[in-house]
Amino acid sequence: MTGVARNRVLDWIKTNLFSSPFNIVLTFLLLFVATKLLWNFLDWAVLRAVWGGDAETCRHGAGGACWAYVRDKARYVLFGHYPYEQQWRPQLFVAIFFLLSLLTQFKRFWSKYLTAAWVVLPLGAAGLMWGGFFGLTHVEMEEWGGLPLTLALAFLGISASYPIGIVLALARRSEMPVIRALSVIYIEVIRGVPLISMLFMAAVMFPLFLPEGITISKVVRAQVAIIMFASAYMAEVVRGGLQSLAKGQYEAADAIGLSYTKKMVFVVLPQALKAVIAPTVNTFIGLFKDTSLVFIISLSDLMFTTQASLQDADWLGFTVEGYIFAAFVYFVFCYFISFSSSRLEKELKV
């Protein structure tokens, strides 16, 4: 730190934290509380924690966190009831997502091939989890669970709701009153209904309307509900981008004779979508976390397996550790999405 910078920091501290006797007292009080909280947490999570062994070791430990629980349950929480010795398949599934996201970080890898890889590889990995070929045992979808399910719900949710949201946003600004009205009704109705009730409808009500003999798996129904929900929010984000664009851009595109579709594809959307990268990613992160609600209709996503792991009679009473682990996994992914978006904004020089 240079002398000037240090002075500025000191000035800031002086004017903001120690400007009056009341402020001084408040500053020290908050400092004290914060330190105390942090210390208590570290004491529990590190100093007095138990890192190995079984539930008994934890119960006779120093009263700190029981990370032995996480060690024992992590595989189940992450991969659910997928046959234990076959879990390299879901592991590969997760690794592929990780690898693709990593490559996508760098503009120099952007190409048709990467786009194709984003379609082919997840499908291939899902096929691998399904099995039934090359001597791989077939694993029923009901046994898939944990992280791959969460990732799949989020990935498909994002890749479907983004284009649908764009179409809805364009429809909402359409000059055709019927199309505009349909879009407005859809968006406002969906935004007025909580996701949980849509998931319940998908799980309980929807099958009642299906003709006899036809069943649609609950995962698919939940996925559709998530996509429908996220699309409405996506639409409003995109609409903001469309509105931020100067009228002159539309007129210049019209004036050279571009058709509506070409105007949108080549002139309007590239600018509008770029302008709303940050709120778009915000919606994606929201969607990622919202997938955790499917545990309510007993789909075994990460949240479901976390809760199920807490029911193990051998390991009763380690709720906090269980939820901290789940929170940590969600955080890693959401932070990764957020990090990627700020990289993307930099790459595109927003």
Partner: protein
């Protein structure tokens, strides 16, 4: 040779304007045109014919309907009454016909309206490739030729934000030229420019006029009108008040409002 002499003379401003060679073919025919904005009568019965090769300057006080008039010609505004025929096509709700007319009519805006996410070359090739279905290589060749025509071929790979206002406006003109238009519309092309950049844009426009491109120019540059226009049209309150050769219009305005306008602007 004669062209060269004339250009030099016009640039120096010391020789009387020489009229363009005009054919008898009609580029634009407007009759009985009315336009309302939510009850406000912006155009009140405009009739106007522009011949092929002609340069028409439209002037008049702010709010008199000049922009609205030329924006009706490529249907950026939809007129409420009257007929507009552009290159033989009658403007109606037929979207195909509108797109055809727009592909054939270039427009240059006051605010340039270049596409900021595309570099100069892509700005120029977008229309030819996607509207006229020109092969990319051919479109780029034409684009570079037109950049040369407006004297900024060295900026082909820059982005609009990296150019000065005058350069951006010349790119916008080149973008219109790439569509090989039979009519160019200019809506106050120099009003957003610093004085030192106005000249470079007007020079390009002067050359285009002499090359025989049909142009309708809304501008307050009365010197340009005097030197380049074949006809000056004066508008006020949504009507054409006076229509004359520049010599007559500037030396001998017929109407009180024209006199007032000229006295204020010159």
């Amino acid at each position: 040779m004669q062209q060269e002499l004339k250009k030099a003379a016009v640039a120096k401003g010391d020789v009387a304007r020489q009229p363009n060679q005009l054919s008898d073919e009609i580029a634009v025919k407007i009759s009985g045109l009315h336009k309302w904005f939510a009850g406000f009568h912006a155009l009140q019965g405009i009739s106007l014919s522009v011949r092929k090769g002609e340069t028409v300057v439209v002037c008049g006080p702010s709010g008199s309907g000049k922009s609205t008039l030329i924006r009706c010609i490529n249907r950026l505004e939809v007129h409420d009454k009257g007929r507009i025929t552009v290159g033989g096509t009658l403007l109606s709700n037929d979207i195909r016909a509108i797109e055809r007319v727009r592909a054939d009519v270039g427009m240059v805006f006051q605010q340039f309206n270049l596409f900021p996410h595309l570099n100069v070359l892509s700005n120029l090739t977008l229309g030819p490739i996607w509207v006229k279905k020109t092969p990319r290589a051919k479109a780029e060749q034409t684009a570079l030729a037109n950049l040369k025509r407006v004297r900024i071929e060295e900026q082909a790979y820059k982005y609009p934000s990296q150019l000065s206002g005058g350069q951006q406006q010349r790119v916008a003109i080149a973008r219109s030229l790439c569509m090989n238009p039979s009519l160019l519309l200019f809506d106050e092309p120099t009003s957003a420019l610093d004085p030192e950049m106005i000249k470079e844009v007007l020079e390009v426009m002067t050359e285009l006029s002499h090359e025989g491109i049909t142009m309708i120019v809304v501008t307050h540059e009365m010197n340009f009108a005097n030197m380049v226009a074949d006809r000056v049209i004066f508008m006020d309150e949504g009507q054409i008040i006076e229509e004359n050769t520049p010599e007559e219009f500037f030396a001998n305005p017929q109407h009180e409002r024209s006199k007032l306008f000229l006295s204020q602007i010159l």
